[in-house]
């Protein structure tokens, strides 16, 4: 599905990714974890073509992404910070993104699911952080793409929306889609993900199931397993 080979990225003097090799197979939920500044977002943005790697190859669904924009038809991306043009109305934004990508009717179901009907006529600048995130989720999930990338999807969500989001993610997985998630909420990761990828200092430190991670670190629970990696590496 996604093949990353020997990926290097430097921002100025700051080496963020130094030789990442990662293969993500089709189907299932993968969580990309790591301490702050470990390069999670850079990795995801490289896959999306927003960050241009210094070295290395990325293949998404068999297409090399270099100088290519068509492959993004197959990706749904939820950005970390949802900041939209403030004098645009919610429904205008949804219409616009549909116009830019492709027509869909899925948005109606998602609007209902996240209960944002009453905000459709409001301008995006007037919305609270959580509501913006819900709009963001609608924009992401309304296209039925085989690969979904979620950067901190839980930010600002209330508990009930969080439950709906989890159900949504599970439903998408049941359709056979591949979902990449980054999050700092360990309980969320533990609940939804099938496999985790741990990035440390620009390299893949661990890739496998949560159970394997617990065995490797000899910790009884997931949160402590992650903490033990971090304290062992002085990160």
């Amino acid at each position: 599905m996604v093949i990353i080979e020997n990926l290097h990225k430097k921002f100025g003097k700051n080496q963020v990714l130094s030789g990442v090799d990662l293969t993500i197979n089709e189907g299932g939920i993968f969580a990309v974890l790591g301490p702050n500044g470990s390069g999670k977002t850079t990795l995801i943005k490289s896959v999306l073509g927003m960050v241009i790697p210094n070295k290395g190859n990325i293949t998404v669904l068999g297409e090399n992404i270099k100088k290519n924009s068509e492959y993004r038809h197959k990706i749904d991306y939820l950005p970390q910070i949802a900041n939209f043009p403030s004098n645009l109305k919610v429904k205008e934004l949804i219409k616009m993104i549909k116009d830019l990508r492709k027509p869909t009717t899925e948005d109606k179901r998602l609007i209902e699911l996240f209960k944002i009907e009453s905000f459709l006529d409001k301008k995006l600048g007037q919305l609270s952080g959580g509501t913006k995130q819900k709009v963001n989720l609608v924009l992401t999930f309304m296209f039925d793409s085989p690969l979904i990338i979620l950067d901190e999807p839980t930010t600002g969500l209330d508990p009930i929306s969080l439950i709906r989001l989890k159900d949504l993610i599970k439903a998408e997985k049941a359709k056979g889609k591949t979902i990449l998630i980054t999050s700092h909420i360990m309980s969320f990761v533990e609940e939804v993900s099938d496999e985790i990828v741990f990035i440390l200092e620009g390299k893949i430190y661990f890739k496998g199931s949560i159970q394997e991670l617990k065995t490797k670190t000899q910790q009884p629970d997931f949160e402590h397993a992650i903490a033990s990696i971090l304290s062992d590496n002085h990160a």
């Binding site: 073509g49 927003m50 924009s69 993004r72 950005p79 900041n83 043009p85 830019l100």
Partner: protein, 260 residues
């Protein structure tokens, strides 16, 4: 690209600033035409305002639009769109909406004044054309500055400096060179010097069209010989087009290599 252009254009058409900018030219046009009653004087005053104000507004608007829309640009970058179409679309959206404010703001009062029956229509057209060129040039330069500077404050600073340099400092340096080397023949040098600054080029074009070049003395005569001919006019418009094309191609080049 056209879709992005459409949305940026609508977005700007809805913003208060487009109307303020439009209203400014509209009022200026009305005041100059109906309180002054001398068309060629009105055109000269307008020229003086346009030559300074259009580049300033173009630079500030361009930089402001880019920084304000940064997050949204990131959203667009994750969509199946080419980078060049995103940035060119946004650039044209800003440049076209600014040009519209200028053209409509000045055009409407002039039409009411009876532009189509007067002989000043060519002077007026030249004024509008150079104004539009200046908008295209300075918005493109502003996008270049914004693309190269992550830091908003720095970006704004450079943008203002650029405007200050081309609108004021360049003329001062130019004049000083002319005075320092006054013993030498300077006609070629001053022609080239004028060509290299879009603001000077626009000003000279309009002044010569208005037939007040006699005021400029000997240099005026040389300029008249060059810019007054159709050859000079064509060369000037080519230069203005180069001034648009160079920064626009750098927008495309730079945006392809940038990380977001």
């Amino acid at each position: 690209m056209l879709k992005i252009l459409k949305y940026s254009f609508y977005d700007l058409m809805r913003s208060r600033w487009s109307y303020v900018y439009f209203a400014f030219y509209f009022l200026l046009g009305i005041v100059l035409l109906f309180l002054n009653n001398d068309l060629s004087k009105a055109v000269i005053t307008l020229m003086n305002v346009i030559i300074v104000l259009v580049p300033l507004i173009g630079t500030i608007f361009g930089v402001m639009y880019y920084y304000n829309n940064k997050e949204f640009t990131e959203l667009l970058l994750a969509q199946p769109l080419k980078r060049s179409s995103i940035f060119l679309g946004q650039y044209l959206g800003v440049a076209i909406s600014l040009s519209m404010s200028l053209i409509l703001g000045l055009g409407i009062p002039f039409v009411f004044y009876g532009l189509f029956e007067s002989s000043a229509i060519w002077d007026f057209s030249l004024l509008i054309i150079t104004g539009t060129f200046l908008t295209l040039i300075f918005t493109a330069l502003a996008f270049n500055i914004a693309l190269s500077n992550e830091n908003k404050i720095k970006g704004f600073g450079y943008a203002i400096l650029l405007w200050l340099f081309l609108a004021i400092i360049y003329d001062g340096l130019f004049l000083m060179t002319l005075i320092m080397f006054e013993d030498y023949p300077l006609d070629k040098l001053s022609l080239i010097g004028t060509m290299l600054n879009p603001i000077d080029l626009s000003r000279t074009l309009i002044l010569l069209k208005l037939d007040i070049s006699a005021l400029l003395g000997y240099t005026g005569a040389v300029f008249k010989q060059f810019f007054g001919t159709s050859f000079g006019l064509i060369v000037s418009f080519i230069m203005l087009s180069v001034w648009v094309l160079l920064p626009v191609s750098r927008i495309i080049f730079k945006s392809k290599k940038k990380d977001f």
